[in-house]
Amino acid sequence: MIKMAEDVKDEQKMQSAEPSAAENDSAGPQDMSAKIQGTVGRPFVDDAKIKMRGVNVFYGEKQAVFAVDLDIKENEVISMIGPSGCGKSTFLRCINRMNDTIDICRVEGSIQLDGMDIYESKLDVVPLRARVGMVFQKPNPFPKSIYDNVAYGPKIHGLVSRKSDLDEVVESSLRRAGLWDEVKDRLDSPGTGLSGGQQQRLCIARTIAVSPEVILMDEPCSALDPIATAKIEELIAELSENFTIAIVTHSMQQAARVSHRTAYFHLGNLVEVNETDKVFTNPDHDLTEAYITGRFG
């Protein structure tokens, strides 16, 4: 109880100190300082792959994400960190409209992928999700064989017509996910029979088999042991050569290891976005510093 009260006091102090911090930040756009709580650091880039402006997300009456502005550059790895319930997963799921599956969820604001508004009412989410793939917190291989798990995406999108082409896509996807050598002799056995780390890499292989442009990862390692985690992190580094990756993580070490930029969320607000090195060594915002030094979260 006492500790929580202290946290609250800290937050209040920091929130009152925050507008001046934003004003002093020359890299941040000037209109940010007008808001009660804006974003400090570098949320914007010149050649944005994904451009998000004023994103609000509501679950029924409750607002989960408040007016977030953020750009994601091509082939960059951006990690999103923050305490539990800070809206980072919800925000991530906006990028390929996965929140559509939740009845009471409502998204406001604009999200553009290569200049195309993905929340336009006439937009078909199917091709969007083919371009923006997603890897989930818990490995969720389909109850099918390893081969069929990877072949699923190319099949439903009609990416390949011949069986030999499909074989090739499956092999190259599994290779890129670093799983080929472990499973090449048992492609027909069920995907659910693999270990947790292998399942997660299978899910990544399944995602890249569709050749998306962006991969969203929602705490991809939270259910895995350290060795499996290390493998996935290596994989993310390799994948960033070809894909734009946004990753939500609870592990600050992981964010520091894999990402180019880091975004810190707090209570539904995007508090700070900066180069990962800067966030973890010299953050602009007091809240970020409090979080990464372990004072709360």
Partner: protein, 454 residues
């Protein structure tokens, strides 16, 4: 008295608690001491009451028989029961006193006295056992007395007995059906029953009557049952499954809130009402349509048809299939759906390629559970399918089923030992074995499926 025992035990434990320094120093909460006292008050006397009720008839009869004069007792053993019955009838006023012989009247007066004493004695014994039981516990209440463990033990025992009641009843049913069936198979060979193609369960009431030799080949009944059940499943499975998919995957909450209870109402309609509907509306409609299509040139068209019964039975089973399928479809983890959607699947692709394959074992289990309902269903087929044991696969003809024949064989005045009546038990046994097998298979599949995700 039980309540009294409860409060006595509780207040004593409270009193003791104040002596030793409060409730925390007792082994158990005062409630448990009270409950244990109450249990000791109630259960022994209940047990005595039960045993007494079972035993007293036997003893009283013996006492009466001992009282009866020698002349009456010289009769054979079978008549002795008859005499005792007469005594009871006179005592209860069913039989007028004037009509009975003197020694019966005397015995009946004696019986009344015995019964009165019996009741009084029972009451006294039960009350005193109750009081003794509660006193026994009441004396034993000390801070160290583990009343809680004893009460938990009693609770466990009650649960165990409840579980046994259902199982023992099932076992009892199986044996009663089994013994009657064995009697039947001594009269009619089992091979004829299982493989004979003709069913006409007529037995001569007197010697030399026309058509006295009945034939008990049950194949037409099995075929009729399977035909109707198959039609029912053809109706119920696709409809139920698709409605389950709609409800669990597509329908928004308002529609779901409205449709699901409506479907459950369908499950609550008494089968007799379905029977009316089948016999009075559907069957004539099907007959007229068959004739209208000119089918009567090729096949028999009857006003009672397997199709009518099967269709209506199918409608009856829809809620069963749909609610079971709905459950298993909902049990497919949302993460699988998310995974498929995240790859850019459409909703129908998710359902066809991910949800249904994952739910398939459970859906199969649901279908297999619905099967026995179709096979065992009685009222609809009695009213709509007819009684003629035709060996046919023509759904427009009238057929009969195992259940219908059981009903017709046992309705009315029957001699209990004739093969005709006993045949009903043999049919029942077959029905029981088939449905039990299907249920077992279904539960096995459902269980296997559950293990996959939990």
């Amino acid at each position: 008295m039980v309540a009294l025992a409860f409060f006595a035990g509780r207040s004593r434990s409270l009193a003791i608690a104040t002596n030793v320094g409060g409730i925390p120093y007792l082994n158990s909460l005062p409630f448990y001491y009270g409950a244990l006292t109450a249990v000791w008050c109630a259960i022994p006397s209940l047990v005595v009451l039960l045993i007494w009720n079972f035993a007293d008839n036997y003893f009283i009869s013996n006492m009466i028989v001992a009282e009866l004069p020698e002349s009456a007792l010289e009769l054979v053993e079978g008549k002795k029961d008859l005499l005792v019955n007469q005594v009871y009838n006179v005592a209860e006023g069913i039989m007028p006193r004037e009509m009975a012989p003197d020694y019966i009247v005397a015995a009946s007066e004696r019986l009344e006295v015995i019964l009165w004493w019996n009741r009084m004695l029972l009451a006294v014994v039960c009350l005193s056992i109750g009081i003794l039981g509660s006193l026994f516990v009441w004396m034993k209440i000390t801070p160290k007395f583990k009343a809680r463990l004893h009460v938990e033990g009693v609770f466990l025992g009650v649960l165990f007995v409840s579980a046994c009641i259902a199982i023992l009843t099932t076992v009892g049913i199986v044996f009663s059906v089994l013994f009657e069936s064995i009697k039947f198979f001594t009269k009619v060979p089992i091979t004829e029953f299982l493989f004979g193609l003709e069913w006409s369960p007529q037995m001569a009431i007197r010697e030399g009557q026309q058509g006295s030799s009945g034939s008990f080949g049950a194949v037409p009944l099995f075929v009729g049952t399977l035909l109707i059940a198959a039609i029912a499943m053809i109706v119920a499975v696709p409809t139920g499954l698709m409605s389950a998919i709609y409800l669990s995957e597509y329908a928004d909450r308002r529609i779901r809130d409205w449709v699901k209870p409506a479907l459950e109402v369908l499950a609550g309609v008494p089968t007799v009402v379905y029977g009316f509907f089948a016999a009075l509306t559907v069957a004539p409609f099907i007959r007229d349509m068959g004739i209208g299509l000119g089918l009567d040139g090729f096949m028999t068209i009857s006003s009672e048809s397997a199709l009518a019964a099967g269709l209506v039975m199918g409608v009856m089973i829809i809620p069963f299939v749909s609610s079971l399928s709905d459950d298993v479809i909902n049990a497919v983890p949302q993460s699988l759906r998310d995974g498929a959607l995240g790859l850019g699947s459409t909703r129908s692709e998710v359902i066809k390629q991910v949800v249904l394959p994952a739910a398939l074992p459970g859906i199969m289990g649901g279908i297999l559970l619905a099967g026995p309902r179709a096979i065992g269903e009685t009222m609809i087929v009695v009213m709509a399918a007819g009684l003629a044991a035709n060996l046919t696969m023509n759904p427009l003809d009238s057929v009969t089923t195992v259940t219908v024949q059981i009903v017709t064989l046992l309705v009315g005045d029957q001699e209990f030992n004739s093969p005709k009546t006993l045949a009903a038990f043999a049919l029942g046994l077959v029905l029981f074995i088939v449905t039990l097998g299907l249920n077992y298979l279904a539960l096995h599949i459902v269980k296997k499926y559950r293990e996959q995700y939990d």
